[in-house]
């Protein structure tokens, strides 16, 4: 019969107090596990999504706001940039792909993102395809929409259903575009990316609504409306949309645009037969031919365009370092505090147990057990409690991550896996085991110094 078995038998013999001690350890470990996993996973996912586009080009202002609003679909929008800027960007030598997006409306809080169909073909790297259809097809005509998995789940909308967008992205209470219902033509597979809670449609849809709906000029939530040219231009474009004629007056065409013609046809958009010369977009998501070009290209855009370029992954890393780094430190400190308290409860639990069974220890000594074996058996008890607490804490942490993952997936579009084995987690778990062992030292020392004759009393 090994010391492990002996120690286990004593723990089992006082199941209730052992369970309480294990629970207290589990709480601390669970908290640490959840904090570290959420931090690791959110950072990993944010960074991965930040890597999905090399550059975002939008209106001058706060680059973090630009990245959050256009790549992650979070926070307020920045201003708009000219369509001509998009066309210039698309023809830059370093650019492998440029995808204009226009936002301004929401449906049940989910953003309606006007874009070009080519976006669905964009390679996010690492074999990820967050635009895979679960049902239906991609949009082809104005007022057709492809909705993310979270949108579909939340709104219970599917292919063939119609919905009405609300002006503004800041929350409820905006004007509803009742005369411009969208029809769902496709539903994306759940990807764990911000796409899950986005609604994609053609840019024409967005423009059409904001040109034709008289309420749009009231603005919404402080966001700048897409396309805010002179009134006569609005009329002209509205007419052009209605009639399907691709002609807009007074546009600043890019003279270098090889395909630029009188009808302002966009050669890169097979589905767009309208002119966009005076149109505006919220931002342009840019994929470069090489990630190594990011910084130079960003500088070039910032100097040569009436726009601002931002590198998403850089902004996100800065955000983590500045903001979430502190939050993580605070949460970790709380977690470790709980573990220290748990270690104290191990100490108290074992110490009380040693006091209660001094006689048993004396009997073992009388049977020939050495002081070292007695010491070892108590340390092993501490080890059992710590390891079981660790395992229970891992389960608890995984459960917390699962619940939070469900919530985060629904609200901001990315899921969180169970506790992941990172260097930080392994270090934290090692620290917990060490603390458990240290907590066992005092009771073990007490047991080591068992006064056999006195504790046997009647002998």
């Amino acid at each position: 019969m090994s010391l492990w078995r002996i120690a286990w038998s004593y723990l089992w013999n006082r199941k209730f107090t052992t369970a309480l001690t294990i629970i207290s350890v589990a709480l601390g470990v669970g908290l640490i596990s959840a904090v570290l996993t959420l931090r690791e996973e959110t950072e990993r996912r944010f960074v991965a999504e930040g890597q999905s586009f090399d550059i975002v080009v939008g209106a001058k202002g706060n680059p973090l706001q630009l990245v959050l609003s256009t790549v992650y679909f979070l926070g307020p929008l920045t201003g708009n940039i000219e369509w001509s800027d998009y066309e210039r960007l698309r023809n830059e030598e370093e650019v492998a792909g440029a995808y204009p997006i226009g936002m301004g409306d929401t449906y049940r809080g989910f953003r309606i993102v006007g874009t070009v169909p080519e976006l669905f073909e964009h390679d996010w790297g690492g074999g990820r395809n967050p635009y895979k259809l679960a049902d239906g097809k991609y949009f082809e005509k104005p007022m057709e929409a492809v909705i993310g998995a979270a949108v579909a789940a939340d709104s219970r909308r599917g292919v063939g259903d119609k919905f009405i967008g609300t002006h503004g992205v800041g929350g409820a209470g905006g004007h509803e575009h009742k005369h411009h219902p969208y029809t769902v033509v496709g539903v994306l597979e759940r990807s764990g990316t911000p796409n899950d809670r986005a609604i994609f449609c053609s840019l024409d849809s967005v423009w059409q609504i904001h040109q034709e709906d008289p309420c749009d000029n009231h603005g919404g939530e402080g966001e700048e409306d897409l396309e805010a040219p002179a009134e006569d231009e609005v009329d002209a474009r509205a007419e052009a949309h209605v009639e399907g004629v691709a002609q807009v007056e007074g546009e600043a065409h890019d003279p270098g645009e090889a395909h630029d013609s009188g009808d302002a046809h966009d050669p890169g958009d097979a589905h767009d037969h309208h002119g966009h010369g005076a149109h505006e977009v919220t931002a342009v998501l840019v994929a470069l031919r090489s990630p190594g070009l990011r910084f130079t290209f960003k500088e070039r855009v910032n100097k040569g365009y009436n726009a601002m370029a931002a590198i998403p992954v850089q902004q996100i890393r800065d955000l983590y370092d500045q903001l979430l780094g502190t939050a993580k430190a605070v949460l970790l400190a709380i977690g470790y505090l709980v573990v220290v308290i748990s270690a104290l409860s191990i100490l108290i639990g074992l110490y009380m147990s040693i006091l209660q069974r001094k006689r048993d220890l004396a009997i073992m000594r009388a049977l020939g057990a050495s002081s070292g074996e007695i010491f070892g058996s108590v340390i092993i008890e501490a080890f059992w409690v710590t390891v079981l607490g660790l395992c229970a804490g891992w389960v608890l942490g995984s459960f917390v991550c699962y619940c939070l993952g469900m919530y985060l997936s629904r609200t901001i579009g990315f899921s969180v896996p169970p506790v992941v084995w990172t260097a930080d987690i392994v270090s934290a778990y090692s620290a917990v085991v060490l603390m458990g062992m240290v907590a066992g030292l005092l009771p073990a020392w007490q047991a080591y110094h068992t006064d056999v004759a006195r504790d046997l009393a009647e002998l």
């Binding site: 049977l367 020939g368 057990a369 004759a453 046997l456 002998l459």
Partner: protein, 220 residues
């Protein structure tokens, strides 16, 4: 087998245990008899190595145990002694079988491969073959003491020290347990030293050592 020579052990301020000479030959069954507080338990503790003398010699099986270091004494005790206590002192979390096995596990004189069969054999000898997997709390007091006797003898020690082994038993059970203990000690040819304040019980053993006067007051 056991020799105490000019042994002195201070028990407290102005009180000390003193034994000028005590000898128990191998195989003897001897009662250490005397009234409460006379020093018989202290004498048993000194013989067991659970107390160390301040002066004098305690020789057991040829070894002067007062000279042994703690670890050596632990091993010596596990190898040569078997203990039977008044309150049985079985370990509550373990079954009868496990309690007997623990006697071998700590003594380390029987190969681990034989622990189970040997423990079963001794529990059968004390007529507890049907309670191998019962925990102490579910045993009667007589059964508990029989488990304790099996545990004490399972290593085939040289010396059994028994402290009031029937002190917690009713008279009928007491007689049965005493008969069993004496019979097994005879069969195993083990030296038995039994502490008792009960003269009638002490007289069941062939030899009786009167412990009266071993504890005395001395000038501080």
């Amino acid at each position: 087998m056991v020799l105490l020579d000019n042994v002195v052990r201070k028990l407290g301020p102005g009180v000390e245990f003193r034994c000028d000479h005590f000898h128990a030959p191998p195989g003897v069954q001897m009662a250490l008899w005397g009234p409460s507080g006379c020093g018989k338990s202290t004498m048993l503790n000194l013989i067991s190595g659970l107390l160390r003398p301040d002066r004098g010699v305690v020789r057991v099986d040829g070894e002067e145990i007062q000279k042994l270091r703690e670890r050596e004494l632990d091993a010596f005790r596990g190898e040569r002694y078997g203990f039977v206590f008044q309150t049985f002192n079985l370990l509550a979390p373990f079954t009868s079988l496990q309690n007997v096995i623990l006697g071998m596990r700590f003594a380390d004189v029987v190969p681990a491969s034989e622990w189970k069969s040997r423990a079963t054999e001794f529990l059968n000898r004390v007529d507890l073959g049907h309670r191998l997997h019962s925990k102490p709390a579910t045993l009667s007091v007589g059964e508990r003491q029989r488990v304790a006797i099996a545990r004490a003898l399972v290593n085939r020690p040289k010396l059994i020290v028994a402290d009031e082994p029937t002190g917690s038993l009713d008279p009928k059970t007491s007689t049965g347990v005493m008969d069993l203990l004496l019979e097994l000690c005879r069969e195993e040819e083990v030296t038995l030293l039994m502490v008792s304040h009960d003269k009638q019980l002490a007289d069941l053993l062939p030899e009786v050592f009167d412990c009266s006067g071993l504890v005395e007051e001395v000038a501080a």
